[in-house]
Symmetry: C3
């Protein structure tokens, strides 16, 4: 039988492969089995893993690290993992019953999609925090909000032109998966099983998984858990260096709707990063200001455990990324204090709509953090700022930023005012407030321009992105386009009406 022959060859090769593995920690027999084939099949990811901390040290060694440098937050990790490297089998055969789609794979009960609830075995605290992170709810917060669905439909829907009119059919699942849900995360579902003839081991059974592949931060996993650690800790190196570098954040915060990376790159901080980061240490835990780096990246201000050169904690590590953020910049439709609950589908504004503000900019206060909590978060962030900046500098920056929130909300109010008049005059239909030409122009004003201006103010203290790069210049032009369109259509209506009156 061809398969058996192949299998034997693989066994021999496997021996060679395992000898070739440079990892310093002992590899479990199960992982040896995996590597026998997969080191040949997928050399890219195996090599990444071999260079990873997971392959380099045992769990016992990881747990022996004292104090802030310890990376394993769980206190009770099963005995069987203590003296081995964390390899393929450790993660992909963990909790087999918890995962839908687990298959028998050459004697191992293997699941394809590793979830935060698997990672939690060693990284409990981080998993705990991430559950409270808005990001872990990114799937549901989009999929289960009727208003956002309307926006999504207006963007992704399939177009059909008929007699000068555009009709929109619902978007296909495949489109959704590579569009909004690429970042928000897909909802994974096992839709069946199939037997595939494999290159090295003959016929094997695999689950068919709808929504796969995906590494979105809010992915709904086959064990029901939320999120994907590999969104930032890219498989299979799971490198802290890579998660800390701003390129990781860029994957989803690029623009123009959330231009965090672009704004950062053009800021003074980004300039220092670009010029100097090759001499920085992105792997040190804790992360020492001045010693390991001399300007913040995204992770420094938002996530990482940072200390001063004396080892004093400046900011604690958090995987609930808004711990240091009073304002949610991303305008829906206005900037507002951060939601209390990461599940934003429960929010209702005063008009009963699932939005954190009403159309006039009023906050849905009972769902949002209060002034005291805002101050606490601002203080946490400012401690980081003050590691390089004097009080006058920091206060000056935040005074402008607070004003910026108010003013961009004011500009959005003006845009919404014109839009309201357009709706009231019946020149557009607000049933879906996003699916007509002029509604798109209004959407730009808050989704692109107001957001950009706020990100630029927050992260760069202003500059190019505030003014010319999708900033105030574009916002002011957009307001005038709304005004121009309204004036034109009023004029035409006037002409039509007068004519009609005359005719009657």
């Amino acid at each position: 039988m061809k398969n058996i022959t192949l299998y034997l060859v693989v066994g021999l090769l496997g021996l060679q492969v395992s000898v070739g593995v440079a990892a310093e920690a002992p590899i479990s027999e199960q992982t040896e089995d995996c590597l026998a084939c997969h080191a040949i099949l997928h050399p890219g990811i195996v090599e990444d893993w071999k260079k990873s901390r997971h392959a380099q040290i045992t769990v016992k060694q990881a747990m022996a690290v004292e104090g802030l440098a310890r990376k394993v937050s769980s206190t009770s990790i099963p005995e069987k993992y203590q003296d081995i490297a964390i390899g393929c089998a450790e993660c992909h055969t963990m909790r087999p019953d918890a995962h839908e789609g687990t298959v028998d794979h050459l004697g191992h009960r293997m699941h394809i999609v590793v979830s935060p609830d698997d990672c939690r075995t060693c990284h409990d605290e981080e998993a705990e925090q991430f559950e409270k992170n808005l990001m872990s709810h990114a799937y549901g917060n989009l999929a289960n909000n009727s208003l956002y669905n309307a926006l999504e439909h207006s963007i992704l829907g399939r177009s059909l032109h008929k007699d000068g009119k555009l009709l929109k059919a619902p978007a296909s699942d495949l489109t959704k998966e590579e569009a909004c849900y690429y970042c928000h995360g897909t909802k994974l579902e096992v839709t069946g099983y199939e037997v595939r003839e494999t290159e090295l081991a003959g016929e094997l059974s695999f689950p068919r998984i709808k929504g796969w592949p995906n590494q979105g931060v809010g992915r709904i996993n086959l064990d029901g858990s939320r999120g994907s650690c590999s969104a930032c800790h890219t498989r299979h190196a799971f490198s802290i260096e890579m998660a800390r570098k701003p390129y990781t954040c860029k994957e989803c915060h690029h623009g123009p709707d959330v231009p965090a990376f672009k704004v950062y790159e053009a800021s003074k901080h980004g300039n220092i990063f670009s010029a100097k980061h090759k001499s920085w240490d992105f792997t040190a835990v804790p992360w020492t200001i001045g010693k390991d780096f001399t300007a913040p990246v995204c992770a420094t201000c938002h996530i990482s455990l940072v200390v001063d050169p004396e080892g004093e904690v400046v900011a604690k590590r958090t995987h609930r990324m808004n711990d240091r953020l009073p304002w949610r910049l991303f305008g829906l439709i206005y900037s507002h204090p951060h939601p209390i609950n990461p599940d934003t589908t429960i929010i209702r504004n005063k008009d009963g709509i699932p939005l954190p503000t009403d159309f006039a900019g009023g906050f849905a206060e009972e769902y949002l953090i209060d002034a005291e909590e805002m101050t606490a978060r601002k203080n946490t962030m400012q401690r980081v700022c003050r590691s390089c900046h004097g009080t006058a500098w920091v206060d000056g920056h935040w005074t402008r930023f607070d004003e910026n929130i108010k003013l961009t909300n004011n500009e959005t109010l003006a845009a919404t005012g014109i839009m309201q008049e357009i709706w009231e005059l019946g020149l557009a239909d607000s049933t879906n407030p996003f699916d007509e030409f002029i509604e798109g122009r209004w959407t730009d004003s808050w989704l692109i321009y107001a957001n950009t201006i706020r990100f630029s103010s927050a992260m760069g203290g202003g500059g190019d992105y505030t003014v010319f790069a999708d900033g105030r210049y574009q916002f002011s032009k957009q307001l005038r386009e709304l005004e121009d369109w309204l004036a034109l259509h009023k004029q035409i209506r006037h002409l039509s009406k007068e004519k009609k009156e005359k005719d009657d």
Copy 2:
């Protein structure tokens, strides 16, 4: 005589210069002559060359390399090059009679523009492949296609405003050279000769070359050959490292019409590259997955000879860049199977227009690769994918991508439908389908937005560029602008007509 004195001084300096050259391979007497002056005149390029492989080893040494690591593909290289470095004179005095514009240059018959037919002397296979590459035909494919000329004229033509109307005079050659033909390549022509007083060697004769400087991939050279190797292998280092880094591709594939680099940079692959490439080896031949790099760059998937850690070939080197590509993403007007012949001017769609699809999206099938060839190319590419990804992952990706092609073509069909109605109503004139305001909006829809969505799907599996960064968000808005403009102009025509009827 001042010139003679100078020349003597140069001779002496030359001696010093040649001594200072750190290259390990012997330099020919002819190249020593070149360096005598040019090391002083153009230190930048001479230093680049000195660090290059061309300067470091002799042809004999290069040919002695066995197996996949060999970089010189020609089997019979003239004896005279065997024991020397490849320096200035070797390329710039090669085949003097083949090049128009060859001049006597202090005793050497020198030509300024080195062509692929010169490079072919040592790199035969690459030159052969490149001739079959669409890119080598980039000049003619644009310059000799009447429809593309109409688009070019609408963009580059010289504007004159008269009575509220814009008139367009033909673009100047100088404009064309630094616009479309910067990337596509210019057609070089010797228009005469001039004598220039030179700094170091007195009066010398030089050709006047129209279209110079240029390094476009489809440049028509003075020996009649097509292309410029230095488009990617930048002179005078001709470095494989540089050609492999994505910044080289970016020069022409930047955006927004072909946003390959931007999409890559924001993808997971691009993220890994940005975070980790400083530890990768960009010079190794063959290029080993996992060992030399852990995520693909442009060259990995499209060009390079890549092997697995056992040395097995995963993909063969190719300089016909669509060898691994079933679909041509770049929409003209729709995405379509790749053309069979790199000369696309021969294509005629069913309406007799030189386009690979008709205006309703139908393929000009006889000029395009068939389903079998598409499958073969897809399989070649997928072998690269599978070096890091499981079958389910790879299949999932390609299923979405194939759907994406269909759906973006469908959106373009809707846009074209509205445009057709506009033309039929006489609200725009289709004689040149690109030169009116509303035609420009239609052009955006396929040239900018559909292309971006497809690149993002292909290279990133979706994400930001699919949705907000010149993606579906912008495409859907553009469709509505077409619809809005049509509705408005119908309304105005209606008002005008009714009034006119009344008047009569």
Copy 3:
């Protein structure tokens, strides 16, 4: 008393801190005092300083450097600085009476904002040159030009929507500071003093400074001087490496109005930089072509002292950045020869408007450099070009570039022609020529598109940015939008008028 206790503790800590400082040059007692607290409070900037040349060598050592490598241009530097490192106190307590807002700070007369007139103590020549740089006048050139104020107001003004109309209230100072004046520089003013309870030293008095923080190139300082050296020489490393890397220029020259960085990054030069700069030396003075780098960055062509491998000066260092520039690309409204005087508020065009050209493109010649000076500057720049390129290449490049200036000015003329017709017909009001919808479209044409095309031609020899990335494609579309809007509004006016005539 708590404060005294703290102070004593700080004293002890201070001792430890100063011991820990790795700088090789002796630190003054005054700076020791500063470090006692600030090394703990602001470790980020202190660590940057410790790695800087300011901390590494004494002034005497710096002055002992002979020839081109010398970085200290002043010839008489006060004795008291000779044998110490230049630390906190040296700059922040220098010339206390010259600065408004100097406070007594634990026994030191300290000022917060260090100015070019402080830096001038050691870097006289650079300060002198920078005074003649347009950039040092960036505040006044914007703030004191009534026409630019109108543009600024149209962008930054606060919007209010009333009855379908937009009203614009003046922008707040806080908005201005983080918008235009982030780059142009703010005008600093002491508005009072406040006593703050500090963490380590109890109650201390600080000035309240309007316009702070800011590091804009044209900042008006509290000693009346203009500019901020830290705009490019980022505090507190003041690193020549960082100032030379193009990321620094990017902070203000990013786009889309002045897309210098983006154009550079996508050019052949930018490609070489991206691929190779990790092996370049950005700290060498003088900067040797071929040895220290093999392709130019912004600083190479515009600022730095560059020499050939023989040590011959190719270009002298200048901090008046237009020394090598004949044309001012940045279109106001047309490209024009550089202004003679860095104070551009004195310019009047033939219509008495403070613009270097009139609306028809004519130059305000008496305020602009003449043909001879233009040629001299061009020659200075071309010497840099010729370090890597032959004469034919350089001439070909500049011929296209000169044509580009003419042609983009011609396109702007066409756009302005349509705009003039719109104003003449009363379809827009030219009182503020920037604050209506259609005026915004006209503004785009020169402020975004013509500028981009020119930058692309100058720095990249053309390519993507010339055509598709805010280039000719967008420019030509914008022209047609102006034409389309005018035609539409003429048609509507015609309908209204005819009806009205009929009614009468």
